[in-house]
Symmetry: C2
Subunit: 428 residues, 2 copies
């Protein structure tokens, strides 16, 4: 982070916050401030969507027009914590056009609109911080942006979704099936009623996009990033991993290749006991960043929950008060970073029906010899181009096939180069 | 960190650094800059002590009067990386009196002189940063100071000495004895020729003192902090830990008690497989900070080595350029933090001679029933007041007795209150 307009905030007592949204994170943030009267931050106005929903504060604390907060010049900081990504973008971009200071935790909104938001921030002199959008309580964006800003990074990997990690932990620890584990996670508040964003890895994909921007200066549209989820995972997959001494985790993988291009993907992965991710259980998140000189860094902390995430929101609000902003040190107009696509992945896939596994082998161009079977039924292993997985991602999911990575992301051999752009990338 | 005198550094091209000391960390820092021509930092002058020592750069790069650098107004930042704590304090305090910006990694110097250095920093408007002094490559001070500055912390624990951790890993993995493992660590550059500072836990004690200042606002003289080392550890101790499913690690433990007082100690400790420290091996360091709202955070990274530590030095230099300084948010004159001494520790101790173990039981006020024996010979376990261990620390070490903690630090019962100061503390 670096300094910006240090005199923006007059020494007029507590920082006046306009809070938009009062869900889990909003209530967590509010509750922390109630318990920390010395934090020099006060929530002056709260805007929510529904006038009828029951809330834990008196009705007079709430209003229903978020735009009024965006345009209130007496508020020092806007904290946007609503679910709706489109509405969030409308509010945050309007606020940035007014040169305002904004904190958000909306990873889907950020991942889709980061280039536009950065342009607005720079053009109008506002500030946008969003530590809580990635890895909950872990200050990963701040650390990558400031401490490792000058240093080349080789890779950033992470378990970035507490809900799917909770489900996988339950299945491994209790032997429960996917539906039971998901139900438990929902009952405990670690998974949404509609679990698709979390379980199909859309949520960690958004976070991986943000990590790619801060760690490597890559701005990639989320839809270009492979996301494979755990909706089709079964006890047979957990047992297969265990038979190898491994666990299944959903791991985001962002790394720079020798060509300078950066790959981004989020998939289930078999991880061994010597992996830092092996011990990241339940709603925890974990991130490993490998720095060129600092070496591998591993951070673990709560990835969800009102207080842990609210804690990161508060840290951003106070950073704004000190004039901090992200530096995006790796994002340099003179050195555009390309998305690496010319990659091969080692995968494992399984479905109870051998015919379905065989069909998937055809889709992915794997030889019939890749088909195997164990006590859990038919499965296959093999090496597949990333582009092939991207093309068949939705079909694999729809057919109920579970796919996981079993090794490192590797550069593909020249022979499977897909187009001239990729060829140019490889030659670079 | 917060802003300070943002216009101190003119936009005059690369930041001009005066480097004092060219040992492992100094060379690592210099080498990183050689490999990062875009870092906008240049080493303008290098001062070293010995005119005759062979060095990897041409002789004309070196000079031998560090004071000349301290007084050179054309240098933007002084980077102090010498071994000698007294000389380092003389140089750094002189520089701060001149209002200069200083980066150091000298933990012994800092721990002994922190109150004086803070007074000089505040009085003369200079800046002192020292991320590399604690946990090598892990940005723990910056994270505690800035991200967790507003949030109460409950505990900060850590493996803060890569040398002793390397020795313990070797003994556990290879079954080697202490002398052999130490020799290996020395041969690989992970331990000094005189291993006392590392092996007797003086070095991690200095780091614990710095953590106590940033995490809790406690300024404690190092000699008031219990440090027990591993110079007397034997294969019998490693085997005992393994028989419990545990490992022996040297863990610094800084925590706030219900009274508000903070305890600081560094001792060998038996850690179980579910501890984050169980997987911190060899020269790695690991820190766990438990935040009131953010929850437990764990960070692991290289704790030693020229590049990892030099990377932290560079991050400080660039932070200075952006006007950053430590905020010491927990260090508030109106809320003085007391050192908790009224504590009990669960310990394990061993010596090959049963008479020596018996004598130690007398010293520590443990009943004879605490004495036991296994295949590795006589040992004892029991609960001992912290003050008793402080009083007998040197005798235990001199007699060749190995002592480790076996559980959490606990508040002692009223019945063993030692003096009125402690009583007042407990009543608070």
């Amino acid at each position: 982070m670096s300094r910006l307009s240090p005199t923006d905030f007059a020494a007029h007592g507590p920082l006046r916050v306009g809070l938009i949204g009062f869900g889990c994170v909003g209530q967590g943030f509010y509750d922390i401030l109630e318990q920390l009267p010395n934090a020099e931050v006060s929530v002056a106005r709260i805007a929510v969507k529904s006038p009828t929903k029951a809330r834990p504060l008196p009705a007079e604390r709430f209003e229903f027009n978020a735009d009024a907060l965006v345009h209130d010049p007496t508020l020092d900081v806007l904290v946007e914590l609503i679910d709706d990504a489109e509405e969030a973008f409308r509010l945050v971009s309007t606020a940035l056009r007014l040169g305002r200071h904004v904190v958000t935790a909306n990873k889907a909104m950020l991942a889709r609109n980061l280039p536009a938001l950065l342009r607005l921030e720079r053009k109008h002199g506002g500030t946008l911080l969003y530590e809580a959008a990635v890895a909950g309580s872990i200050p990963v964006l701040r650390t990558l942006d400031a401490h490792f800003g000058a240093e080349p990074l080789l890779a950033v990997r992470g378990i970035l979704n507490g809900s799917s990690n909770y489900v996988l932990s339950c299945m491994a620890e209790q032997g429960s099936d996917y539906a039971t584990a998901l139900h438990e996670a929902q009952a405990l508040g670690f998974a949404e009623t509609d679990p698709t964003l979390d379980m199909a890895a859309f949520d960690p994909r958004s976070k991986a996009v943000l990590l790619a921007a801060h760690a490597f200066g890559l701005l990639v549209p989320p839809e270009r990033v492979l996301n494979l989820g755990i909706e089709n995972v079964t006890a047979a997959d957990i047992a297969f991993a265990r038979s190898q001494g491994q666990k299944i985790k959903v791991v985001a993988d962002v790394r720079r290749h020798r060509s300078g291009a950066v790959s981004v993907l989020v998939t289930p992965q078999l991880v061994a006991a010597d992996s830092p991710f092996y011990t990241v259980e339940r709603e925890a998140n974990g991130v490993e960043a490998t720095a060129a000189f600092g070496g591998p860094q591993f951070w673990r902390g709560a990835g969800a929950g009102g207080h842990p995430t609210g804690s990161a929101v508060l840290a951003d609000v106070l950073a704004l008060r000190r004039g901090c902003r992200y530096r995006y040190a790796k994002l340099r107009p003179e050195a555009e970073v390309r998305l690496a696509q010319n990659l091969e992945l080692n995968i494992y896939l399984r479905h109870p029906d051998e015919a379905v596994v065989g069909e998937a082998l055809d889709w992915l161009g794997l030889p019939g010899a890749a088909l195997a079977a164990d006590a859990g039924g038919p499965y296959a292993t093999g090496t597949v181009p990333l582009t092939t997985l991207l093309a068949w991602r939705d079909d694999l999911r729809a057919r109920g096939i579970f796919v996981a990575r079993t090794g490192e992301v590797r550069k593909a051999a020249q022979s499977i180069l897909l187009n001239s752009a990729v060829a140019a990338e490889t030659a670079a």
